[in-house]
Structures are given as structure tokens and as C-alpha cells.
């Protein structure tokens, strides 16, 4: 298993789930579209009202189902539409990251980014760089429930 | 391999790492240039020619040798273009073609160290040493 994880050169179809808050990052993703800023297609966006709506179980479920990376994007600290939601998200994800490390999953597979509604370019850049990170890390074989394999 | 003028310009832009397309031809580089009065092609024009894929008359211009490499143009540019680097890149390509060092460090007289500003020495080596 570890051997599989350390052979990143093997081509694989990455699967990345992005949770985007409705007010900033989802709009940022829309702007990336309007500005035709391309990023890898294996990133699939799920819309949530706020980054604080993202339950760690959603992320673990994604990993269980075979996602290679999960990214949570929210408003910049201080700019949350709901005043403080992104702070909750930040704390929760910090805890989740240490739990992932404990489980033996590279915590780089989970990322939290702040992308505002005006940052279409940043959205594309962040997504591209995350996809590269995941590509370098290789396939997620640690947490994946083989019964979910399609 | 023989490059066309356009390809050569593109190559110089690539080597220099300068985004000439950011230039909006405001001319602030030329306005700030202390050696501008003696140049046949001013810095803003230099950038313009490269943007448009022309390099032959740049290689023949005296701008390459009048430029002091003081980087005032680069510091003043409102668009983050670096004309000094572009001039440097064309200069290097010319020097490489002629393939000969015309300034040897060992041959420099000792007293020159005290008499000349260091910037002049550095830029002389940039210009005449491959």
C-alpha cells in the first residue's frame, strides 16, 4: 500500500472534491468561468452556504469513496458572509488534518483556501496547484473503501 | 540553426523572462533614463520593437552600449516591465555571436578600482565580457 502511495509517476484519474461557500468561493469559481480561466476537470464543486457547513464526515466520506483530495474554499478571514463561519471551518479542518495524519493519510490531501468572489484567477490557480499536489501524492489508497471502487 | 528575426525576438523575450506585453508605451523608462540623450533607440522604443518581433536594428543600435545598466527604467516602470533586462538580453545575444571576451579582469589596471564607480565596472563587465 505504501509502495503504491510512493509511486506518483503512475498516471491515474484523479478525483478531487471542492466544497465552495456560496458567497465567496462559489462566486469566485463562477468568475473563473466568466473569465475562461481553466483548471483541471477532475475537480468537482459542491455548493455549501458557508465553509462552516462542511462537516468533517463529508470529507471522510469523500475519501472513503475514493476521492484523492478534498479542498474547502471559503471567504477570507474577516469577510465571512455569516461573520464567523470561516473561523469555525478553519479550526475544524485543523483538527481534521491532525486526525488524517493520525490515520496515516497525508494531510496535504485536504486543503483549506480563502477565495473571494472577485478572485476568479486565484480560484483557477488554487485548483490547479491543488491538482498538482494530488498528482504528486498519487492515488488515495489508504482510506478508500474497496467496496466503493467503481 | 538559423532563426528568423521574429523567432530570435521571441527567444530573447523568453531568455530575459520579461513580460514585454505588459508594456503600455507610456515612455516613463525613457523619461527616467540618464543615458537616454545618447541612445539612438530609447528604452520604450526598444521594448516596443521586441514586442513586435523586430530585433535586427536593436542589435545594431548604440543603445546596447550606452545603457548604464543602472536599472532606473525598471524601477520607474509602472507595469513591472524590465527594459534593462531586455537590453541586457539583446546585448548578451550580440556578444555571444561575436564570441570573444573584450574585457579581461586581469588586464584592468589596479588604480581603476579607486577611480571608477563600482557600478561602471560591473556594467562594463556585463557589456564586454561573455
Amino acid at each position: 500500500m505504501l509502495a503504491a502511495q510512493s509511486t506518483p509517476d503512475k498516471e491515474f484519474e484523479q478525483l478531487i472534491v471542492a466544497f465552495c461557500c456560496n458567497w465567496c468561493s462559489y462566486a469566485g469559481a463562477d468568475l473563473a468561468g466568466t473569465a475562461r480561466r481553466s483548471y483541471p476537470a477532475n475537480i468537482k464543486i459542491i455548493r455549501v452556504p458557508c465553509s462552516c457547513r462542511v462537516n468533517p464526515t463529508f470529507i471522510l466520506r469523500a475519501f472513503l469513496r475514493g476521492a484523492d483530495g478534498v479542498i474547502i474554499a471559503g471567504c477570507h478571514p474577516g469577510d465571512c458572509h455569516y461573520t464567523s463561519g470561516n473561523y469555525f471551518a478553519r479550526r475544524r479542518m485543523t483538527l481534521l488534518m491532525s486526525m488524517l495524519s493520525f490515520l496515516g493519510v497525508d494531510k496535504a490531501r485536504l486543503r483549506v483556501e480563502w477565495v473571494s468572489a472577485a478572485e476568479g484567477n486565484k480560484f483557477a490557480e488554487v485548483m490547479t496547484s491543488f491538482a498538482e499536489t494530488i498528482k504528486a501524492l498519487g492515488e488515495n489508497v489508504k482510506l478508500r473503501d474497496l467496496r466503493c471502487k467503481k | 540553426m538559423h532563426l528568423t528575426e521574429k523567432e530570435e525576438a521571441a527567444e530573447i523575450l523568453r531568455i530575459s523572462g520579461v513580460k514585454a506585453d505588459n508594456c503600455m508605451q507610456c515612455g516613463k523608462c525613457s523619461a527616467a533614463c540618464p543615458a537616454g540623450a545618447k541612445m539612438d533607440i530609447l528604452p520604450h522604443r526598444f521594448v516596443w520593437e521586441l514586442m513586435n518581433g523586430r530585433v535586427n536594428n536593436l542589435a545594431a543600435s548604440n543603445t546596447l552600449w550606452q545603457c548604464l545598466s543602472c536599472f532606473t527604467c525598471s524601477a520607474r516602470c509602472p507595469r513591472g516591465v524590465d527594459p534593462a533586462k531586455l537590453i541586457e538580453a539583446v546585448r548578451l545575444s550580440v556578444i555571444r555571436k561575436q564570441g570573444e571576451n573584450r574585457l579581461n579582469v586581469d588586464e584592468l589596471p589596479a588604480e581603476i578600482d579607486e577611480m571608477m564607480p563600482q557600478q561602471a565596472l560591473v556594467s562594463a563587465l556585463r557589456k564586454y565580457n561573455k
Partner: protein
């Protein structure tokens, strides 16, 4: 079994060029529950909506998925269409296959596969959607306008004229803003004060307008229709009620070293001062930093000379709390700081000035009574150079990347005003581009050249040096390639403008979004230009982006119309996507209460059915009027009793499962 209808939009070629829409429709047909799938050229068009409505009726659809543009664009459209066909609007889901797919991926195979995946996720979610009904909340029939410049005044006047109460909160001691500092306005060259002061008086005397000057917003809470703002009325140290505005206090004040903010520091003012002659209210303030009484305790002359006994040294800041239905941001702009632009020698040469300083110099009410003189020696200049784009269109960290928009026109205005008054003065303008789109704008600029003989030279100024008693302007004439050193007696820099310094603080307070330059973001750049994405917050004037006066006034009126549209409603439909607590599984730990930013969760003892027996238990209760639907509580809840309607745990989990 659900009967789901899936509608795939072509969006002309926007989607269809990169996504095989027919294949998307075909591939979802086999999904259990999908009863109907079709593609259509423009789903948002009348034809598209009719197609959906017909399918709902013909196939008895219980759920609808539209694969189209962003839900931020047309979710409301499709919900309304579904509702008209008898379906609960919240049983519609959108798969964003335009902004998140066809526009960002070029390969048709890849984009089609992604579009199918996104459609599947939306189908998985919609199966779990439940019918939701919006609640209602009342609208406070009062608006708050932050900023008392021309933008704020115009918005306030338009709202007040329609019969609603408006409060204007202005940071400085008087309303009027930047426009009150200007001399003439382009392209008509009419006097700025002459058109502004009547508006100031109208606002001040309007029965529906309350003006808080020398005041700032301390705190804002609440939501659209029900905002509550705390306004800090800074201590003026002068009673507004008793003061007659005679001005004796300022005259006798011994401390006259403070720089006049209104005159851009070109003259000094006393510590107790009225910013300018037409100030509203015409009541002085004491600048405590510079007042001898406050600094040393030994003065009190103003109190002695005041015939009305209006001086109140003991006055303290006062906090006023008021409820509002809508808030308009009209915080305006300020010129950028020139400290980083050493090459122009602004800090060391008194004859290098900014355009706003020039406005004060040419203003008849200004520090020189309108006589154009050099600040260094008081002599009339023989030649003036204007430099445009100082800090504008500058991508380095010194400047601003955007075009400040107003400079080309005011440069032409200044040049013409000089030539009009003093035909013997040589005027030269250095520019990068002359940008004059606008009614009668280009004609105005050409008049400066053709009628007044102003010399326009294309080329940015590289540096300004002092040469004896005059300045030398070093520039390159880009058109001819000549290197110029132009002697000038005065240089005027058209400095870039930036949003007011407190815009960011306000944005945070109001959760209104702001861009990287600190301009407020509009809800849609084309279709909703005066609304902030945050409901109930509107934008007026330069705080949204650089604008001249006519545009500002137009936008101010547009913002007022949007406010009126809101205030004229008695009730607002609230977002039904709010938190809900499962009483069966709630343990009453109230972890949710602690994270709720709106105080929408409270504890209540309730009779709950437990295994057939009624039991009195502590339960979390959600106030649906206060809940904004962020979902923070759902994650904090250890038992999973808290859920969010419209974005439930099961729904999001289903989306995850569909994607992975």
C-alpha cells in the same frame, strides 16, 4: 418513487460548444427516478420555461434538475417557473455546467464527462429535497446612508422624496464630500459649489432626512429589512442647538497651527473650526488634538467669547441605536499617498502639487482667493505642466492597477481654466492615453487643444527636479522619440484615487464583499450594479468603482430606487433554508447555541415522545426569523440532530457519493 425531470441547456453555444448536451440528457435517463430528460437551446427563455412546465404537468414530475449556468444566475428563474407549474420551488436543483464546466474546460470529451458527473450529483441531491415554505419578516421603513458626499446626498434625497425616512451618517464635520472641494466641474465648467450647496441645504432641511455629521458607524447587526446600527456621534464640544455659527470662536482661537483638511493642508485652521463657509451644519467642532484647553488645560477663550454659550468642553461621544430596513454605502474616495513616488519630488518641492490641491488653489473660496500662485514664492507661474496617470494603471505595488477614470477630464478642465483666466501661461499636459468616453467629453478635451492651445505630449514624466527657481520636467516624447527637459513653474500631478480608508472596516462589519482594491463588489457586474451581494446593502458612487459626478448621481438614484423597492414591501419572504432541530435526537447539550452568530438558537423545555412516553426534555430551538442558514450549528451538533434545510447532511452526502 420520485419522478425527476432533467433539462440540459445549450446556452446557445456557451455550453453546447464544449459539452455534448444530448449525451448528457441521454446518459441521465437510465438513473432510477429520472422520468424525463431533454436538452434545449435556451432553458431560461420563455420556450425553455414552457418546456419545463409542460413536462412537469405531462409527466407528473416531482423534482426538477436544470443543467445550465450558475445557480447564482438563474436559480430564482427556474424556481419561479416550477412554482408556476405547481411544484414547490425548492424541489428544483441546478447543475452548474457553464461557469464550472463548459467555460473552463476545452476538451469536449472531458467537459461532457464532467457535466454528466455534475448532473448526477444534482439528481442525487434533488431526490432528497423537501418542499420548503418561506417565512415572512417585517421591513423597517427607514434607510441608512453611510457617507454624505454627492452620492450619499442624492440617494438620501431620492429616498426621502418618495416618503421614507433616511439617516445620513457622515464622518467629517460637514456633509458635501469631495465635490464641495472642487472648483468647476467638467464638461460644462459650471461651479461645483453652486450645484452642490442647494442639494446640501435640501437634504438638511428635508423633513424625512436626519443628518449625523462628525459621526461614524460603530456596529451593524441584523439582516435585510431588520438592520440595527449603532452610530457614534463624536463629541463636537460645541452645542449644535445653541451655536449660531457666528465664527467668533474660530477667529479668537489662539491655536492656529492645524492643517485645514478641507483646503488639503494648503492653509492652517484654528483648533475650533468650521471646515468651509457653506458647511452644513454651520457649527464648529473642536479638534481636541490641537486645542490648548484639551492639551494643557489653560485656555478656554472660545467659551469666553461665544455669545451663545454653546461651547461644551465636557461633551462626550454619544451612541445612537437605530433600526433600518436598508443600508446604502456611499463612502467615496481619497487620492493616493504620494510618499512612494519619489521621482516626482512632491514631498520636497512646494510647487509640485496634486490635482485636488490645484482645485483649492483655483477656487475663489480657497486659500489664495482663487489667485493662481506658486506655493514657494507666491508668484504667478508662467508655465504649468500637468501629469496624468500618476499611480493609475500601475501594476507595481506603488500604484493602482485600474484607470482612475476622472483624471483625463479634469486635466483638460484644469488646463482650460488656467488658459481662460491667464492666456499668457504656457500649459502642457503629459499623458499616456487620453480617455474621454462620455457625453460631450471628447469634444471638451479637444477644445482644450484646439481652442485654448494646450500642448498635449504623449509620454510619461520620468522625474521632476528643481533648477534654480523653477522645476525641470524630464519626459520622453513618445511620438517623436525626443528626450525633453521642460522648464515649469508649477507641476500638477493627477493622482490615482482609491476607496476611502474605512471601506474595508465597513465591509467586514456589514459582510458586504470587497475587491482586492477595496472597492465594494456589486451583486452582478452588469445586471445588478448598485446592489451588494449581501441582501439589503446597496452601493452608491465611487465606493463601487471610479466614477465622475454625472455617473455618481445616476448610480445614486439607481441605488435609491432599489432601496425604495425594498422599503415599499411590508413583508419580506425569508430564506427557508434554515436550521432545524430533530427533537428526538437532540440531547440538549446546546453546543449549537454557542456557535450561532445570530443568537437564533435558544433552549426550551419541551414534551418529547420517547418510546411512546411523553418526556420533558431540554431541546434546542431555532428562531427561523433570525437564522440565516450558515450551518455552523449542524457541524457543532454531536448527535446530528441539527440539520440545515436545503443543504441537509443527507443531501450533501448524496452529492459526495454521486461525485466519488
Amino acid at each position: 418513487m420520485q419522478k425527476i425531470g432533467v433539462f440540459v441547456c445549450w446556452c446557445g453555444s456557451n455550453i453546447a460548444a464544449t459539452v455534448d448536451v444530448a449525451r448528457v440528457a441521454e446518459s441521465v435517463k437510465s438513473i432510477p427516478g429520472v422520468a424525463f430528460a431533454a436538452d434545449y437551446r435556451y432553458m431560461c427563455s420563455e420556450g425553455g420555461q414552457e418546456l419545463m412546465q409542460k413536462a412537469i404537468k405531462d409527466y407528473g414530475l416531482s423534482r426538477v434538475v436544470v443543467c445550465s449556468c450558475s445557480p447564482r444566475m438563474h436559480e430564482a428563474t427556474f424556481r419561479k417557473a416550477a412554482q408556476a407549474a405547481g411544484l414547490n420551488p425548492y424541489l428544483v436543483e441546478i447543475a452548474n455546467i457553464r461557469e464550472h464546466c463548459s467555460w473552463v474546460h476545452k476538451d469536449k470529451e472531458v467537459a461532457t464527462a464532467k457535466a454528466i458527473a455534475l448532473a448526477k450529483a444534482a439528481i442525487a441531491k434533488v431526490k432528497l429535497n423537501t418542499p420548503l415554505v418561506s417565512g415572512e419578516s417585517a421591513v423597517v421603513k427607514r434607510a441608512l446612508v453611510i457617507g454624505g458626499g454627492i452620492a450619499g446626498l442624492q440617494t438620501a434625497l431620492d429616498i426621502a422624496e418618495a416618503g421614507y425616512k433616511v439617516d445620513i451618517v457622515e464622518k467629517t464635520p460637514s456633509i458635501g464630500g469631495k465635490m464641495s472641494q472642487l472648483d468647476k466641474t467638467f464638461p460644462t465648467l459650471d461651479c461645483s459649489a453652486c450645484i452642490l450647496t442647494p442639494k446640501m441645504v435640501e437634504a438638511a432641511t428635508h423633513e424625512n432626512i436626519t443628518i449625523y455629521t462628525y459621526s461614524e458607524i460603530e456596529k451593524v447587526s441584523g439582516y435585510v429589512g431588520q438592520f440595527e446600527a449603532v452610530i457614534r456621534k463624536k463629541a463636537r464640544s460645541v452645542s449644535v442647538d445653541r451655536c449660531s455659527g457666528c465664527g467668533i470662536c474660530s477667529e479668537k482661537c489662539p491655536s492656529k497651527k492645524a492643517k485645514s483638511e478641507f483646503d488639503q493642508g494648503l492653509r492652517n485652521r484654528s483648533a475650533i473650526y468650521i471646515p468651509f463657509a457653506q458647511a452644513i451644519p454651520n457649527v464648529p467642532v473642536i479638534d481636541r488634538e490641537n486645542c490648548l484647553k484639551f492639551q494643557t488645560g489653560k485656555c478656554g477663550i472660545c467659551a469666553k467669547v461665544c455669545p451663545a454659550g454653546a461651547i461644551e468642553y465636557e461633551q462626550e461621544d454619544e451612541l445612537v441605536t437605530q433600526k433600518y430596513g436598508a443600508i446604502v454605502l456611499a463612502t467615496g474616495f481619497e487620492p493616493i499617498d504620494m510618499a512612494k513616488f519619489g521621482e516626482f519630488n512632491y514631498e520636497y518641492c512646494p510647487d509640485v502639487i496634486t490635482s485636488l490641491e490645484f482645485e483649492r488653489l483655483t477656487n475663489a473660496a480657497g486659500p489664495t482667493q482663487g489667485h493662481l500662485v506658486r506655493l514657494s514664492d507666491g508668484k504667478k507661474p508662467k508655465s504649468i505642466v500637468f501629469v496624468s496617470c500618476v499611480g493609475s494603471r500601475d501594476t507595481t505595488e506603488r500604484g493602482k492597477t485600474y484607470c482612475s477614470k476622472i483624471c483625463c477630464m479634469y486635466n483638460a478642465k484644469h488646463a482650460m481654466l488656467v488658459k481662460e483666466k491667464y492666456p499668457d501661461i504656457d500649459v502642457q499636459v503629459f499623458y499616456i492615453d487620453v480617455r474621454t468616453p462620455g457625453k460631450s467629453f471628447d469634444e471638451f478635451y479637444r477644445r482644450a487643444v484646439e481652442e485654448y492651445g494646450v500642448q498635449y505630449t504623449k509620454g510619461m514624466v520620468g522625474k521632476i527636479t528643481e533648477e534654480g527657481d523653477h522645476l525641470l520636467v524630464h519626459a520622453s516624447d513618445v511620438a517623436s522619440g525626443a528626450q525633453l527637459s521642460v522648464p515649469a513653474d508649477m507641476v500638477v500631478l493627477a493622482t490615482a484615487i482609491k476607496p476611502a480608508a474605512d471601506a474595508r472596516k465597513l465591509a467586514t462589519m456589514l459582510t458586504a464583499s470587497i475587491d482586492t482594491n477595496d472597492f465594494f463588489t456589486e451583486a452582478h457586474p452588469k445586471l445588478r450594479p448598485v446592489e451588494s451581494p449581501t441582501a439589503g446593502i446597496f452601493l452608491s458612487g465611487v465606493c463601487q468603482g471610479p466614477k465622475d459626478i454625472p455617473e455618481t448621481v445616476a448610480q445614486a438614484g439607481a441605488a435609491a430606487v432599489k432601496v425604495l423597492g425594498l422599503l415599499s414591501k411590508d413583508k419580506l419572504l425569508t430564506n427557508p433554508c434554515v436550521a432545524t432541530c430533530n427533537e428526538q435526537t437532540c440531547s440538549g447539550c446546546l453546543a449549537c447555541e454557542k456557535v450561532c452568530p445570530y443568537g437564533a438558537i435558544s433552549a426550551e423545555y419541551k414534551l418529547v415522545n420517547v418510546k411512546g412516553l411523553k418526556e420533558r426534555r431540554l431541546i434546542a430551538q431555532v428562531n427561523e426569523a433570525l437564522c440565516q442558514g450558515c450551518g455552523a450549528c449542524t457541524v457543532a451538533c454531536p448527535s446530528g440532530a441539527m440539520d440545515l434545510k436545503g443543504f441537509s447532511n443527507k443531501q450533501i452526502m448524496a452529492e459526495v457519493d454521486a461525485i466519488c
